[in-house]
């Protein structure tokens, strides 16, 4: 038996789905979190009758007439797939808006159970809903639920099971509407809302009226203020980085890396009689490389814990409101903010969240730009360079996020210009969730879930990549073991060598190790850290003080890399703002549905990453030493060539627009004549 979970965005569908199925799908208090249909079996303790029940979690929709592709999924599923029962999760705190969709679902003829969710919030606000009266009005069972505490779930599933095979009578039926006439459709919608608004006063009693302003509204005035809100947002992000990168994070990381180092030493001791190659492979390549990545796990987990708290308390939704006017000015949809915020966790769900954007051009532009936001995989890279070159300065991480936002804004203007798109008025409507004390337990579970995923990645992709890197570094093309100190004759050095020439304008010298790290970073960004660890023989990047004693005595990580601060920042930006990984490119491909836009996006990201790295290095070196850095001329040539291509494309677009305008004018003149 299939039970579909349908309802408005942020009504609690996925939370209920997780509670019933035991899954751990991502939840968030904004639209765009669930963009795909998901199915799973409901836990046995909810299936009283013994029949297997399958829950189908659908993306949120406000109407059966969808605007966006994820709403289309919901609309199509309930119309075409005909689930056995629909559980319509209704946000009890916003009954009149939610019932619009409910009345449409009831018209389908599929049995519906209304789960009046967030009843606990209503209780606190002194709002009561007579579920019996509502059930009479709608002609279907109504059950009070609280998804977050699994309250009422057994009753709602039982109600759904009892309706299997029965028909559904609709309390409101709309027929004879000419769907090709926009005005008639609007009038029909108004009639539906009138029907809903006749029901609501009969069943709902409010102590607090919506128009009354409360403490939350006053807080929102400050947090969503265009100036103060932005300053607060910057401060909050800085604090998140300070806690995760400079205070709590490194403290936990020190403990972990100590254990990893001890483990490495123990294994090295046990393998004393083994071949030098195997010793090097296991101790330096695998334990060292994977250990270097794992060493940043506490920093990443602390950051995710803090972000989960910010999401749960309702602040992140306010952050989207603060950023919305800024993004609108560059022709992006206000809804673009949500994919960018999601992209700070991982670019892939960020790109997929672009489905909530109706306009195809805005959707593609947003998908292309989402990866400029530093994602979770880039955190170890940021932490490594911040720690090694800038004394754990947390401003480095915050700066990278704001540079990402700046690049998004600049590139959005560029993309619109290239596409010949004039900035038009767009709107952004988001429901601001209630402020609440964030749940430490939920944040802890979220942190653990992400931490586990990080470990899985380290134990699979990073492990395989580091093994390959170590083998390639240990052998030359004649398959002879390379002597210590002669790694530049290895397979890895010869493969990465040509790419290293491209990096000279960014770091100032030919370093195949940096090139190898950048290339492996396209498989998974954490590989940058792992590959650098393997290539330079460093396993502990966390305790940079202790790294003063290295091979070559007195070297620190910075000196081992041979990078100046400007070069380090430039190399960091190159890694952060070029395409993040092949999986993200794959996600872009799925969402763009256009080879031209996909390759344009990849080209834009590569160009921006390269140009940003080049400018930062050369200007930084000029400021520090009074002369430009190595590779200035070739780098400048490359950047100017990219600029020339962009100027050519802009001119071509302008010519095309001018020709179209002339054609239209001529047609209009001929028609007038």
């Amino acid at each position: 038996m299939r039970i579909a979970f349908a309802g408005n965005p942020n009504s609690g569908k996925t939370t209920m789905y997780n509670a019933l199925t035991g899954r751990n799908e991502r939840v968030g208090n904004w639209a765009g979190v669930t963009v795909e249909k998901k199915e799973a079996a409901i836990k046995k303790n909810y299936c009283a009758g013994g029949e297997e029940l399958v829950a189908v979690d659908l993306p949120g929709a406000y109407s059966m007439s969808p605007f966006t592709s994820e709403e289309s999924i919901t609309s199509s599923y309930v119309r075409n797939e005909r689930p056995d029962v629909i559980i319509n999760i209704v946000d009890a705190t916003n009954l009149s808006r939610s019932l619009f969709f409910t009345t449409q679902l009831l018209e389908l003829g599929v049995p519906v159970v209304v789960a009046l969710n967030k009843s606990d919030i209503n209780e606190k606000k002194g709002t009561s809903i007579d579920s019996v009266a509502l059930s009479d009005q709608l002609g279907c069972p109504v059950v009070n639920t609280v998804s977050t505490s699994a309250c009422g779930l057994e009753e709602v599933v039982q109600a759904a099971v009892s309706l299997k095979g029965k028909s559904q009578k609709a309390p409101y039926v709309q027929t004879g509407v000419d769907l090709t006439d926009k005005h008639e459709v609007e009038k029909a919608d108004r009639r539906r809302f009138e029907f809903v608004n006749r029901i609501v006063p009969k069943v709902e009693t409010r102590r607090t009226l919506t128009k009354e302003r409360n403490v939350q509204d006053r807080i929102d005035n400050i947090l969503t203020n265009p100036v103060i809100g932005l300053i607060i947002f910057a401060g909050v992000m800085f604090l998140v980085f300070q806690i995760s990168q400079a205070w709590a994070g490194p403290w936990f990381a020190d403990l972990l890396t100590g254990r990893i180092d001890a483990f490495g030493e123990a294994v090295g001791g046990w393998m004393e009689s083994s071949s030098p190659f195997l010793q090097s492979l296991v101790v330096d390549g695998i334990i060292g490389g994977v250990g270097a990545v794992i060493g940043f796990l506490p920093l990443v987990m602390v950051m995710y814990f803090l972000i989960a708290l910010l999401e749960d308390c309702g602040y992140m939704a306010r952050a989207t409101v603060v950023l919305d006017p800024i993004f609108k000015k560059v022709g992006l949809s206000g809804k673009s903010v949500i994919p960018f915020i999601i992209g700070t966790g991982c670019a892939i769900p960020g790109v997929m969240a672009c489905r909530t954007i109706r306009n195809e051009r805005e959707r593609r532009a947003t998908a292309m730009l989402t990866s400029f936001m530093p994602c979770g995989a880039k955190l170890p890279v940021i932490a490594l360079f911040a720690g090694a070159f800038f004394a754990d300065a947390s401003w480095v991480g915050t700066l990278m996020y704001f540079v990402g936002i700046f690049l998004i804004l600049a590139c959005a203007l560029l993309v619109n210009t290239l596409a010949g798109y004039k900035v038009r008025k767009s709107y952004f409507i988001i429901e601001l969730p209630e402020y609440k004390t964030p749940s430490l337990i939920r944040a802890f579970y979220s942190m653990c879930g992400r931490g586990w995923a990080y470990i899985v990645k380290a134990g699979t992709i990073i492990l395989v990549c580091n093994t390959l890197v170590q083998i390639m570094q240990s052998f030359n093309w004649q398959l002879q073991v390379v002597e210590e100190g002669m790694e530049n004759t290895s397979i890895l050095a010869s493969v990465a060598g040509p790419f290293a020439y491209l990096l000279i304008p960014i770091v100032g010298f030919h370093a195949w190790q940096l090139a190898a790290a950048a290339v492996t970073g396209f498989i998974a960004k954490e590989n940058v850290v792992g590959t650098l660890a393997v290539c330079y023989g460093i396993s502990n990047f966390i305790n940079t003080d202790e790294l003063a004693l290295m091979d070559g005595a007195g070297s620190s990580v910075a000196a081992v890399f041979g990078l100046t601060k400007a070069a380090a920042l430039a190399y960091l930006m190159f890694n952060l703002f070029t395409p993040p990984c092949f999986a993200a490119i794959g996600a872009m491909n799925s969402e763009m549905k256009s080879a031209k836009w996909l390759w344009g996006g990849i080209g834009l990201q590569l160009g921006v990453g390269y140009a940003a790295g080049f400018l930062v290095y050369q200007i930084g070196t000029l400021a520090a030493t009074g002369t430009v850095g190595g590779g200035f001329v070739p780098g400048l040539t490359a950047v100017l060539a990219m600029a020339a291509v962009i100027i050519y494309l802009i001119r071509r677009t302008n010519r095309r627009l001018a020709a179209e305008y002339e054609l239209e004018s001529n047609s209009a003149s001929r028609s007038a004549a």
């Binding site: 963009v35 109407s63 605007f67 609309s75 195809e360 038009r424 992709i461």
Partner: protein
């Protein structure tokens, strides 16, 4: 003897990692152990065609021409 043990352990570890990666990719996961995806990033189902403008219930405030397939 130590070498043999090490090679066997490595083969098991790398083999298990590769098997996991291949199995995940075959089941549709986009990103292996993506630290924010938590295995949610499966390949999307084929999304239905966007319905024509006439079927949309709500009007738009802005004079947009955004409903067509713009390239």
């Amino acid at each position: 003897m130590t070498d043999i043990i090490v090679v066997v352990i490595l083969a098991v570890l790398i083999g298990a990692a590769l098997r996991y990666i291949i199995k995940s990719k075959k089941s549709g996961a986009r990103c292996i152990g993506c630290s924010a995806c938590e295995c949610h990033c499966k390949h999307p189902q084929k999304t239905p065609e966007k319905p024509p403008m006439a079927q949309r219930a709500h009007s738009e405030q802005s004079p947009c021409r955004c409903h067509g397939d713009e390239k």
